[in-house]
Every structure is written in C-alpha cells, then in structure tokens.
C-alpha cells in the first residue's frame, strides 16, 4: 500500500507540473485562445484524470480522512473541478442534446433599448445562434455617472464667474445680469440648415466637438443665443459674456434600470451597475457596454449560474482548510 501511495503522490506531482506548463502556455496564447484550449477534449481528459486521482487519494491516504483540514482542502479541489466541468460549455452542450431541462445559455450578450423589452441573447464562444430566456428584460433607463459633472463656466465683463450644470433645460440666475438657460448639450455639435436657419444637432460618432447651446436673457428682456465650446475662447457673441464648456471627465459608473417581465408581470426590478449584477432565474445580468454614440441602448452580459455553487463551495473549503492546516494545526506541531 505504501508503494501505491508513493506512486499516487508522484502522479499528483506530475499532474501539477503539467498544469503549470499548460497555464504558462495558455498565458502566452491570450485569454480567448486559452479558454478554448482549457475547454478542449484533451485538456478535458486531463481534468477528469485529476479528479479521479484526487478521489483515489482521499480513499487510500488515511491521513486525508483523519485530518479534517486536509480533507477539506482535497474535497474542495474536487468540488471546484466538478463545478467547473458541470458549468462548462461542452457539458452544457451534451446535456442540451440529452434534452436536459437546465439552461442552455452559458454566456452571451443582450442589447436593450430604452423602454423596450427583449429576451434574446447573442451567444458567445463563437456560437452564432440566438438563445432565448424563459423571461424578458425591460430597460427603463440607462445613465452614466462621471467623476466631474459637465458644466459651463460663464464669466462677465466685470470678472464675475458662474459655474452652471450643463443639463438641457436648466435656467440659472446671473445676479443682476439676468439669467442663462441651457438649450442643449452636444457631444459632437454640427449645424444643419433648416428653413433658412442654422439648427444644431448631435452628429453620431465619437465626441469630437462637445458644446453647449445657451440662451442669455438680460434684465431688459434682450436675448442672445451662444455656443460654449470646450476650448478657451469658444463661444462667439456680442454680449458681455465669456463662456467655456467643461465636458464630462472620466466615467465613474454605468447604470441600467431593469425590470424582469415574466408572464406579462413585472417579477423584479433592479438598477444594475458594474460590480452589482442582477440575478434571476439561474442567470446573472451584468452591465457590460452601452451605445457610446447616442446613448439609446445598454449592453448586458448574460451568464448561467450553473456549477457556480460548487465552485465557490470548493474555494471556501480550500481556503478554510489551508488556514486551519497551515496557520493553526502546524503551530501546534500537528
């Protein structure tokens, strides 16, 4: 038996070294290729052999059964392997073929327009198909929060300065100099001729000409429309004002207000953001991307929760087992 145990230990060491080599190979290949590689059939065989070896080890090493910390660590590794395999693309495809009632969408993306409801998911992993959720999601609102809120800096000819929030519709008092109203905020301002008048509009595409359209109203009722741009000296006009637009800075967070619609009823509402997904019906919904040109839609990443409980249960076992074994038992010389 001692000889068999030694052989098993040597095999375990060999498998560990092999996984080190495979990990380095995967790192050089990049995340996408590595994912395909580690989910391929030969490496799948490796995972199964690893799991079998762990199971055999627990059976034939009495120490693993007698020392609870070691048992936790090794069964934890088994749980992680089981959860990983159970939630893997290959196993999900096989269970789909066998007619499993489980979820068939492993991961994908949804595009949701504001006010619209949808249940279609564009599948990932080079799968061109569209998956359908057994419920739908509605996007009520999508918004972005910035570290520095956009603002307009207005300076009068007597050097008084006002900082005005750059939000369309805001009317702001300028002391005894009247008021200023923000008529429109543009990421990429262009002008078009309509009925003989120049009309501002936001041109789709990257933010290359951020600007704000302003209306100054003097106490005597005199009106003046001006544009404020992001560069100094922008905003030509005849009034006693100097204006500059400070566009939004770095994005702080993205938010999507979602409703889960099932059987025509709203089953759940949640505002998701980065690091705070929605979980419903065995799926997680993550804030992934958005319509950077016109802010009309949000992009959600959808992933199945299949196998996740086993993976995290295994992780917890391994961590607890290691601290118990190396920090507590070892100090007592066990």
């Amino acid at each position: 038996m001692a000889g068999l145990r030694r052989v098993i230990l040597q095999c375990a060491l060999l498998l560990v070294v092999l996984l080190i080599v495979l990990s380095i190979y995967g790192a050089f290949r990049g995340a996408e290729a590595a994912q395909v590689f580690f989910n391929s059939i030969p490496v799948g065989v490796y995972w199964v052999v690893f799991a079998v070896l762990l199971t055999v080890s627990i059976g034939i090493f009495p120490r693993l059964l007698k020392v609870p910390s070691l048992l936790l660590i090794h069964t934890g590794c088994l749980c992680i392997l089981f959860g990983g395999l159970y939630g893997s693309k290959s196993v999900m495809q096989w269970s789909d073929r066998l007619g499993s009632a489980g979820p068939s969408i492993r991961s994908g993306r949804m595009i949701l327009y504001e006010g619209e409801t949808d249940n279609r998911v564009m599948l990932e992993d080079a799968d061109p198909r569209i998956g359908k959720l057994p419920f739908a999601l509605r996007l009520k609102d999508f918004r972005i929060e910035y570290y520095d809120a956009p603002q307009v800096i207005v300076e009068s000819d007597d050097k008084q300065v006002w900082h005005i929030p750059a939000e369309a519709g805001i009317e702001y008092p300028l002391g005894d100099r009247g008021t200023v109203t923000v008529l429109g905020v543009f990421r990429n301002l262009k002008l078009a001729m309509e009925n003989g008048q120049m009309v501002p509009y936001d041109h789709p595409g990257p933010d290359s000409n951020p600007a704000v359209h302003l209306l100054f109203l003097a106490p005597d009722g005199k009106e003046e429309k001006r544009f404020a741009f992001s560069f100094p000296g922008g905003g030509h006009g005849t009034g006693p004002w100097s204006v500059q637009y400070s566009p939004p800075g770095m994005i702080k967070d993205y938010f999507s207000d979602l409703e889960v619609v099932e059987n025509g009823q709203v089953a759940e509402c949640k505002t998701i953001e980065v690091n705070d997904p929605l979980y419903y019906g065995g799926y997680f919904f993550y804030q992934d991307s958005y319509d950077s040109a016109e802010m009309r839609y949000t992009v959600l990443r959808v992933t199945s929760a299949r196998g996740l409980v086993w993976v995290f249960l295994g992780f917890a076992q391994v961590v607890v087992g290691l601290f118990w074994h190396f920090w507590i038992l070892r100090r007592r010389g066990i």
Partner: protein
Amino acid sequence: MDLKPTVQGGMIYATMACWVIAVISSIAKRIGPARILFFVGFLLASAAWVYRWIDVQHVPMQNLFEVFLTLGVLIWPIWLFSWRVLDIRSFVSDLVIGLIVLFPAGFVFHAEPQRLPPALQSWLFAPHVAVYMISYVFMARAMVQAIGVWMLCPPGMPDPRTLDSERATYQMARLGFPLLTLGLLLGSVWGQRAWGDYWGWDPKELWSLASWLVYIGYFHFRYMNGTRYPRVNSLWAVTGMVFIVITLLWVNLSRIFPGLHNYAT
C-alpha cells in the same frame, strides 16, 4: 528613471536612506541603531502610504507605484511578526527586500494620481490586493531563506544550519500560501461580480495559477521527501517567487500578455 521631487517622494527616499544606513549599521554590528532606523523607515513609508491615500481618495493599491509602496510598508510588521512569533532571526535580508520593493516606487513607476475605473470600485478591491501583497512578502522571505539553503548546503548531507534555513523557508511558505489562495478566491469572487466569470483564463490569472501550483508542488514534494533534499525543496520556493514576480510585473508591463488586468500598470 522617474525621480519624485514631492513630499511623498521625499518620504520614500528618506525611508530608503534609513534602511541603507540600517544595513550598514547592522554589518558594523550596531544592531540597536539599525533596528531603530528600520522602525523609523517603516513610519516614513507608512506616512507616504497614508499621504497617497488622502491624495488619490482611495486605498492606494491601484497601480504598480502604489503596490510597491504598499509592499514597502508591509516589510517591518512582517519582520517583527516573524521574529517574535516564529523566532526567525533575519534582519539584513528584510532590509534588502524593503529596499528592493521601494526602489521601483521611488525611481521607476509614475506617481500621477489616478481615479478608479468602474470595475475597481468594489469592496473586494482592497482585500484582494492587500492579501496578495502580504503573501508576496512572506514568499519573498521564503525565497531569501531558500537561497540561503543553496549558499549554505554543501554537496552530500545537509548540516544543521542548512536545515534551519530549509525549515524557515517552509515556515514562511506555509504562512504565505493560505493568503495566496485567499487572494485567488477573492479575485475569483470579484471576477464573477464584475465580469460574470469567476475564471477568465486571462494571462495574469494563468500566471497566478501557475505560481499557486508551484507552491502546491513544493508542499507535496516536501511531504514526500521531508528535508532529505533541501536544495530541491528550496528550488520550488525560489521558482514560486520567480513566478510571482512575473505575475506582478511582466504580465502587466509586457505587451505579450494583453488582458483584463492591464489597467494595473
């Protein structure tokens, strides 16, 4: 070379100066002043770290400058813990590790304050990085002891001094390894919450897995053979630290490994 003529830079340079003088004092057998200088350096490094936190308005562990500054702060408390609790009587090597980790913070990496991108705004950010940093210091100390085994161990039977270094390597590794695992777990939980994958096969993740596996190999080899092959045991520990350095530096700085963790430069 990126010199920092700022208050924060001054504190880092002052820490390094204290520790260089402490090394010289220690070599000159002036242990008392050397220990005081080690502690003063720790206070200065801590002040630089707190200053940075106030300056950037988040826990300073976002980029490599902040990470190396954090490592510098951890050197003295871990030395004290090892001395008092584990009875590992190293000193100059800890100062040298401290100087090595503060050098990139003082002279290599830029210190411009950066705001946290959305993915880093998580309660898992600080514990994930902090746990890794503490484990890295333990593993660096394990490597120093392991190098000592190679320097001390004559061919043939190991002598008692060699075995002391071998056991010290093991003591350091057994303290660092659960933390290394916890760092991996916290990263995995965070990945699940931020990106939807507890494991993304990203180059940094794969190198950190490889580092973790090297220590798995070390513990299993040592379990099989005990202290019969101290040089081989030590080789595992040194390899583990080399992999950690690759995970921490090469993966982030090299364009060979594009991935989700590349913001951390």
